[in-house]
């Protein structure tokens, strides 16, 4: 597990978080909260509680492979088997395979995703998969699931425990929040958060136009004395190669300043990831840097603390410093505002100075 982990013990929880862990174990809950409000941590502590409370038959479903491997690397802190942590895709494939399904799915991501869930739905309808297969399913980043997926989880589990932030939704899929709220006995809201420094909150707040939005800045309990923050910096550059060089000029300092901590370099497209990777490979930083594909599950290695990935695959991870490249391309896609927003909020501190 990475140093300075966000994983906290139950006694360190704030008064909002504490009571959530030991809510009745046979009921379903949706926990909504801003980034850094401890949702993923609560999910794991809830899983511990359930495992100890004789509900070992649980599944923890996270969205990306990268986050799954990240969580698995902290297995010694859990009272359940790390193998209980899975990604949506892995879980679907395993379930279908167990039920004799061997057909080749469509290659395109969205089609494939629909294909899998429809097949499972068919198996349930045909009575081939028993309802309540699991005692509890715990869903991380639940706002990113399809309503159909939520329905299936609900059917296959006696109870669900979902954590979500509707503001962090990054996939342009149908909104499942209504489905989630209808699927649980109670929805709880967290408001305090501890991971995003004030400059980062302000940046995230500025990216949001929704009038009902509660600014992140108001409820930030970020410990600036412990992790001094700096203001985000912005550089206007001509090409992605130039951008890569700009970023690299900071990375050298950051790996020294934050030993053993994850430093992220993200871009919206795979093309830009490749372009930056080729620039880094020709430099002395190459030994410290890992190119992360979205289905990559190699654990974090403190000797190579810089992860280069797309914004999508980086989602849910937490970096000590984050560089966002290739934003110029996003200006053509106004709906991607949420994507930048999410990337910004994964980062407690930006040290681009």
């Amino acid at each position: 597990m990475i140093k300075n982990t966000w994983f906290v013990d139950p006694e360190q929880l704030n008064p909002e978080q504490g009571p959530i862990i030991d809510l009745p174990s046979d009921k379903s809950y949706l926990i909504k909260g801003p980034p850094g409000s401890g949702k993923t941590n609560l999910l794991l502590l809830r899983a511990n509680f359930l495992a100890i409370d004789r509900h070992p038959n649980l599944r923890i479903v996270v969205f990306t492979r990268m986050l799954q491997s990240f969580l698995v690397s902290g297995a010694e802190q859990y009272d359940f088997k790390a193998s209980r942590i899975t990604t949506l895709k892995r879980w679907e494939m395993d379930l279908l395979y167990e039920h004799g399904f061997r057909a080749k799915p469509p290659a395109e991501h969205d089609q494939q995703r629909r294909y899998y869930i429809e097949r499972i739905q068919e198996l349930i309808d045909a009575g081939e998969i028993a309802p309540n297969l699991y005692e509890v399913t715990l869903l991380d980043e639940a706002q990113d699931y399809l309503p159909e997926e939520v329905k299936v989880f609900r059917k296959l589990s006696k109870a669900i425990f979902a954590v979500a932030d509707s503001r962090q939704k990054i996939y342009p899929t149908a909104d499942c929040m209504a489905e989630l709220e209808a699927s649980v006995d109670e929805t709880k809201e967290l408001q305090y958060h501890h991971r995003c420094s004030i400059p980062i909150c302000r940046l995230a707040d500025a990216l949001t136009k929704n009038p009902d939005y509660e600014p992140m800045e108001h409820t930030s309990n970020y410990d600036d004395a412990r992790w001094p923050s700096s203001n985000p910096t912005y550089a206007r550059v001509k090409s992605v190669e130039e951008e890569a060089k700009e970023i690299m000029s900071k990375l050298g300092h950051q790996i020294k300043a934050y030993p053993g901590e994850l430093i992220g370099v993200v871009t919206p497209t795979n093309e830009d990831v490749q372009a930056i990777w080729s620039v880094i490979q020709g430099s002395s930083l190459t030994q410290f840097c890992v190119l992360r594909a979205s289905d990559d599950d190699t654990p974090f290695d403190p000797a190579a603390p810089i992860w280069l990935a797309t914004m999508h695959s980086f989602k849910g991870l937490e970096a000590r410093a984050l560089h966002i490249a290739g934003l110029a391309k996003l200006s053509h896609f106004p709906k991607q505002r949420n994507l930048i927003y999410t990337s910004v909020r994964e980062c407690p501190v930006d040290r681009r100075k």
Partner: protein, 470 residues
């Protein structure tokens, strides 16, 4: 001027120094040594003998009055033999502060300023004002432990008209640099408060020189008009990380151009030592040493209302942000508070900005009911960042926005904004409020709070409460 052998009863000895209007010599009467100041004949002729004699008589009125930090006047008048005008003072074998400014140990500064202020207050108690307090007129012992206010040549009784108009004009030639703007324009009020404001400014100027180790507006030598402009408009930078923050704060408050604000923020007790030691917050000093100070921003040339409003809004936003950051920091770092929510309330006027700080109930923190604290910032003068902070607090389960006006708004701070001092004030405020809320909870059951809530009694930090000048 050739030194005479004798003036009055005093034998004149070695030359000590000379100013524009007089020369000072060692003097002896029997076995008593003294400093003899002999006025130049040209000056006396130029401005009139009667006026000069009038001033000397004022100095002589101090004979017999003793204060440890005020030079003693022994004798004076017109010499019957030579016709020279003279004043005899206690002989002090010590350099003047202006010549040793950079040698003063930092930990002696508060004592020096306290001693000089005490002498000035002593004069005030006799309805006199020095009018020319500056480092050149302060003798400092070689171990920097004892200071003496010198040169009572422009001493003036409060509320009695000038001897001549000329006097003031000549006076300015020497000490414009250390004059507050209202004195420069001769707009000072001729009463105790009016002259006290002048004295506070001059004490602040001396404090400035001690802290910054250079003269006030020291970069301006010429032209004369530029210095006048500086006195009227420039906000001197005062900062020092190696002295208690109170001293910097005091200097900035003293140097305010606005007389009303100066008198509102400063009182004699602020010059007393130790300023910091009496604070109830134990690690005060430690935090103060880690202080950060924002540089003073220049006063804009434009006096247009729009420009002023813009500046006021900008300062209000900056200071509000600083306040919120201090509150968040203390709430999170101390570990003594439940999670905090900090919200800015819509500003009613450009000058004011209100912050609501809310803590949820948390048994782990001994808080049985939610606590809300309001802090209203008012910009009193934007260029110098003179501000006032008022606060009120309430324990209530209802949303803070729905609550009626508070019964009492406690003024918790008045003065030039100083991040360290304001942070101390806010820390104190947060702990008083939390303590009050916890005590309420201990006395009543949680059901008792279910209604409109309970207002808490807040107190200001004793050392920095609103000054009273009586």
């Amino acid at each position: 001027m050739d030194a005479p052998k004798k003036v009055g009863d005093w034998e004149v000895g070695d030359f000590i120094n000379a100013g524009k209007s007089a020369s000072v010599y060692c003097g002896r009467r029997g076995d008593q040594l003294a400093a003899v100041k002999i006025f130049s004949a040209e000056i006396v002729q130029k401005y009139g003998k009667d006026a000069q004699l009038g001033r000397i008589r004022r100095e002589l009125s101090l004979i017999g009055l003793r204060h440890p930090n005020l030079v003693r006047i022994l004798d004076g008048g017109e010499c019957p033999d030579t016709g020279l005008l003279f004043v005899v003072m206690e002989l002090i074998d010590a350099p003047n502060l202006a010549t040793v400014l950079t040698d003063v140990p930092r930990d002696r500064i508060s004592q020096i300023i306290a001693q000089v202020a005490d002498a000035a207050q002593f004069l005030e108690s006799h309805r006199l004002v020095h009018r020319d307090i500056k480092p050149d007129n302060i003798a400092i012992s070689r171990d920097f432990s004892h200071s003496t206010l010198l040169d009572l040549g422009v001493l003036r009784p409060v509320g009695i008209a000038e001897l001549t108009d000329d006097e003031t004009q000549r006076h300015f030639l020497g000490t414009l640099r250390y004059s507050p703007p209202e004195y420069l324009l001769r707009e000072e009020r001729d009463d105790l408060e009016g002259w006290r404001a002048v004295t506070f400014y001059q004490l602040g100027a001396v404090l400035h020189d001690l802290l910054m180790q250079r003269r006030l507006f020291g970069d301006i030598i010429e032209p004369y008009a530029r210095l006048v402009q500086a006195v009227e408009r420039d906000i001197p930078e005062v900062r020092a990380a190696d002295v208690p923050a109170d001293l910097v704060f005091l200097a900035r408050n003293c140097l305010l151009k606005d007389v009303k604000l100066r008198l509102k923020f400063v009182s004699w007790k602020h010059f007393e030592v130790p300023l910091v030691g009496a604070s109830p917050i134990a690690d005060l000093k430690e935090r103060i040493r880690n202080r950060r100070v924002q540089p003073a921003s220049p006063r804009p040339d434009s006096d247009r209302a729009e420009e002023r409003d813009r500046l006021v809004r900008q300062k209000a936003a900056e200071i509000q942000s600083q306040i919120q950051s201090s509150i968040r920091r203390e709430s999170v770092e101390s570990g003594l508070f439940p999670p905090v929510k900090i919200v800015s309330v819509e500003n009613e006027t450009p000058e004011s900005a209100c912050t609501v700080v809310s803590y949820p109930e948390s048994m782990a923190h001994g808080l049985a009911v939610p606590l809300n604290i309001w802090i209203r910032l008012t910009i009193l003068d934007a260029p110098s960042t003179a501000i006032q902070l008022e606060a009120w607090a309430l324990t209530s389960r209802s949303a803070p926005e729905t609550l009626a006006d508070p019964p009492v708004q406690q003024v918790v701070f008045n003065g030039v904004n100083d991040e360290t001092i304001v942070r101390l004030i806010l820390q104190h405020l947060l702990y008083v409020a939390l303590d009050g809320a916890q005590q309420l909870a201990a006395h009543e059951s949680a059901e008792g709070y279910a209604g409109a809530g309970q207002w808490l009694k807040l107190t200001a930090l004793p050392d920095l409460k609103e000054p009273s000048n009586d």
